[in-house]
């Protein structure tokens, strides 16, 4: 059995290879259409050149380049338009897709034990991977075991499970399934899928056009009727478009299905990496095999979204070539080589019976988890060592079981009233305000008076109530709270969101003394909320080298250096370590900026610009930041969490730093 890291690499390489197959398939489709058009022109020529076109058909070596370029231009244009239309339709966000599939959103403060358990599993997974908690949906009345994730990316994702999965899987199996879905989320599979589906629709559109041309009632149109020969030509073109469009679509689907199957293998492997519990995932898959309902989804829209699901939504089609998931026993054998292919028959258990049975979710309290709690000093040194070795910190974005245990411990360590508050909009809003209140009592007074009449008084008084608890939290706990709160904050209406952003702005501007961490928190909140309320086009990378962002890097690194130490020479060394790591060209060298040149406004501008950098550049910059933080060989928890907050603000979330992270993992 290959180990799961290797399986992930194989899957990634194969995906790239498969995507290359699309090019010849498009080229062949275009060529096919070209011949149809040439043929039509030859036999129903509208001009004197039809003998010439006859030649191009009879002797294919004579290609009319002009016609070919016209045909390819029109085809590519039509395919692009259709694909853009489809992508617009599909890009409506995870919640829209979940609603289309008939999903019911699980309320964050649900009392149903199974739903609570699912929410806990999802929350832990989200906190462990450092992304905001997605909205969770259940597909009521679907008794098959299946799950899906939808949406653009982690900022606007919806995760759904069928009622069958909710009721019939045990906690470990549910965690494995959720881990599988999170792999799709973290690997950007939704984006890939969106792209594939739109492209396929573009090809399909060619055949739809052909169908339209054939079935269009040409006799009804007098002007066309007069030209009998033209009519025949159009129908011929229609048939040709239909045939070649369909063939192209068929091959496109073959490729897409193959890509999907690779991504599923990748997700299975990643799920095992997250949970280190191959038996749980195998158990979930075996339950699908043993269940009468299998993984079927009965909803009308299910077929269109089949690639989103955990397992096939339809019975096998076309020798499995078109199925979007690898066969069940292959998936199980990859996890459990001893599997004999025999599924144990299980029956669906009605919801009521389960209520008394399986115990409700039990998060172990922090103290029960060995090794990982609030990080002890020894662990801090270890992080410093980890950060100091030159492997890029971002490459350690891998989720491990330690992260999950850490996340479970972290959520359990939150004061219960705060985590309850984070689960509904009122409390979540008040919590964010509370985090932005200043520690100094008189400065806080000023903040509140600056807000004046524009603030919602009940919210502000709730924020003040939470303040005393919030100010005792560690930064890690605060970030976890923010992650928990984002789904609730998404429940605001647009007008409420406008109020919210105005209040946050005022709270910050009231005093420029706000800390870098609080600034980052505010940044993170808006990064997750803005796509919901102000849909904008995804940012296109503008910077492909850190050299273009030299000044911005200087601002960020200087600010971090000042945070890490009070000693001047240490500050300078810290900054230099980070700056060296950027490997800037000689004419773009940066030096430590004086404190007044790296204040909040400048940091804000810098972060804003860095978000527009390409991912590798972001990773490079982030790594330099990590080195600055780790330079003094002593990473306080706050520093580590601040690094995460900055990472999140520039759109490159990091999982929490867990003490055992640097230990090489055995497969």
């Amino acid at each position: 059995m290959t180990d799961f890291f290797e399986r992930q690499n194989i899957a990634r390489t194969k995906t790239k290879l498969l995507l290359c197959y699309f090019l010849p398939s498009v080229a062949l489709t275009i060529l096919g259409i070209y011949f149809v058009v040439a043929f039509a022109l030859a036999f129903h020529g509208f001009n004197s050149r039809h003998h010439y076109y006859l030649d191009t058909v009879v002797h294919p070596s004579v290609i009319d380049w002009q016609l070919l370029s016209v045909v390819s231009a029109i085809t590519i244009f039509v395919v692009t338009i259709a694909a853009l239309y489809k992508s617009q339709q599909l890009a409506s966000g995870g919640s829209a897709v979940a609603a289309m599939l008939g999903g019911r959103r699980i309320n964050n403060n649900t009392t149903d034990a199974d739903e609570r358990r699912l929410l806990n599993v999802v929350e832990e997974m989200a906190i462990a991977s450092g992304v905001s908690v997605p909205e969770v949906y259940v597909l009521p009345g679907e008794y098959g075991i299946n799950a899906f994730v939808a949406g653009h990316d982690s900022k606007d994702a919806g995760l759904g499970v069928t009622e069958g999965a909710l009721r019939m899987l045990n906690r470990d199996e549910l965690q494995a399934v959720v881990g599988h879905e999170f792999s799709h989320l973290l690997n950007g599979d939704m984006h890939l899928n969106l792209w594939l589906m739109s492209f396929l629709y573009g090809i399909l559109f060619i055949s739809l056009t052909g169908k339209f041309l054939i079935s269009f009632d040409w006799d009804g149109d007098c002007s066309v009727r007069r030209r009998g020969r033209g009519e025949g030509g159009i129908i011929l073109v229609g048939v040709g478009l239909f045939v070649f469009g369909s063939i192209g679509y068929f091959f496109g689907r073959l490729i897409k299905s193959a890509v999907c199957r690779e991504r599923e293998r990748l997700a299975d492997a990643a799920s095992v990496q997250f949970t280190r519990n191959p038996q749980a995932l195998a158990g979930a898959l075996k339950k699908i095999g043993g269940l009468v309902y299998g993984s079927r989804i009965t909803g009308a829209e299910a077929d269109e979204a089949s690639h989103l699901f955990f397992s096939d939504v339809m019975p096998d089609s076309f020798l499995g070539l078109l199925s979007t998931h690898p066969p069940l026993d292959e998936r199980i054998r990859a996890l459990d080589p001893s599997f004999n292919g025999q599924f144990e028959h299980i029956t669906s258990i009605p919801a009521q019976q389960r209520e008394s049975g399986d115990a409700p979710p039990l998060i172990k309290s922090v103290n029960e988890i060995p090794g990982i709690t609030r990080m002890p000093p020894a662990a801090i040194i270890q992080i410093a060592q980890v950060l100091n070795d030159r492997t890029p910190v971002v490459q350690r974005r891998r989720l491990t079981p330690q992260h999950l245990t850490y996340a479970a411990g972290l959520t359990a360590s939150l004061p219960p009233d705060l985590s309850a508050a984070a689960r509904e909009p009122f409390g979540a809003t008040a919590l964010v305000y509370a985090m932005l209140l200043l520690p100094d009592a008189s400065a806080r007074e000023k903040q509140l008076s600056d807000l004046g009449a524009s603030a919602n008084t009940t919210l502000m008084s709730a924020a003040q109530q939470y303040y005393s608890t919030v100010c005792n939290l560690t930064n890690g706990q605060r970030l976890a709270l923010i992650n928990l709160a984002t789904p609730s904050l998404r429940q605001m209406s647009r007008l409420q969101f406008d109020d919210f952003s105005k209040t946050v702005q005022l709270l910050i501007e009231s005093d420029s003394e706000i800390s870098l961490f609080e600034y980052s928190i505010q940044k993170t909140v808006f990064r997750y909320l803005e796509p919901r309320f102000k849909p904008s086009k995804p940012t296109i990378a503008q910077y492909y080298a850190a050299a273009g962002l030299a000044l911005e890097c200087a601002v960020l690194l200087s600010a971090l250096a000042y945070q890490s130490s009070a000693n001047n020479s240490e500050i300078a060394t810290a900054f230099q370590t980070g700056a060296d790591d950027l490997e800037l060209p000689p004419n773009k060298q940066i030096s430590l900026l004086p404190p007044d040149q790296c204040n909040l406004a400048q940091i804000d501008a810098a972060v804003q610009k860095i978000t527009q950098a390409a991912l590798p550049v972001k990773k490079q910059i982030l790594n330099a930041c990590a080195l600055v933080v780790a330079c003094d060989s002593l990473v306080k928890e706050e520093e580590a969490e601040m690094l995460r907050a900055i990472a999140d603000a520039i759109g490159c979330p990091l999982p929490p730093f867990v003490s055992s992270i640097g230990i090489p993992e055995a497969a």
């Binding site: 609603a99 009122f426 409390g427 009940t458 709730a462």
Partner: protein, 197 residues
């Protein structure tokens, strides 16, 4: 000729694409307000669950105010029914009107109960009662925020289905206007409670 065909195709195609876009938008807006209602629903349930405890605690002190207590209990029963009906069909005019009345009545009954309770210092000092009151206030705050979110979404939806050309699509597919959720504050109309202290 080929270009003419493409032009001929383009027009109905464009209309169809636009139609779909409008339809999808309306669906999204409708889902938004229905989703917003589910937030209110949870908080309303919480509020309704708190009330029996409050009545139970107050009972020991308010021997002579049975009428007020019964009124609260009755208003709660009506509100629960109305909330259930509304959860089944959020936004529908008839059920929402029913819910508006029921919740307004419940708020009124509670206000009267608390006004009466002012005269009983023992009750006011009761720890359980204080806790319950605090809980009730929090819940009401949450309801009001969730209600605002719902009303905003309803407003966006109602505006969208009235605008041309979306109104044509709305007519075809029977998108009916949704009803707001408003709890009238009866205290505004009542004489303020007088306390002699």
């Amino acid at each position: 000729m080929l270009y003419a065909v493409f032009a001929l195709l383009a027009l109905p195609l464009l209309a169809g694409v636009l139609g779909f876009a409008f339809y999808n938008r309306l669906i999204a807006l409708r889902n938004a307000y229905k989703n917003a209602f589910s937030q209110i629903d949870v908080q309303l349930k919480r509020r309704h669950d708190l009330i029996p405890n409050i009545v139970e605690t107050a009972k020991g002190y308010l021997q002579h105010e049975r009428g007020t207590l019964e009124e609260v209990a009755a208003a709660r029963g009506a509100a629960i029914n109305a909330a259930q009906a509304a959860a089944a069909a959020p936004g529908e005019a008839a059920v929402m009107t029913q819910l508006n009345t029921a919740e307004t009545n419940l708020t009124g009954a509670l206000t009267r109960l608390f006004a009466v309770a002012e005269a009983y210092p023992d009750l006011k000092a009761n720890q359980v009662m204080l806790q319950l009151m605090e809980e009730l206030t929090t819940t009401e705050n949450r309801v009001s925020l969730a209600r605002q979110a719902y009303n905003d979404s309803v407003m966006f939806y109602n505006t969208a289905i009235q605008k041309t050309p979306a109104n044509i699509i709305a007519n075809w597919y029977h998108f009916t206007p949704a009803e707001f959720f408003q709890i009238e504050n009866t205290t505004d109309r009542q004489a303020p409670p007088v306390s002699f202290s």
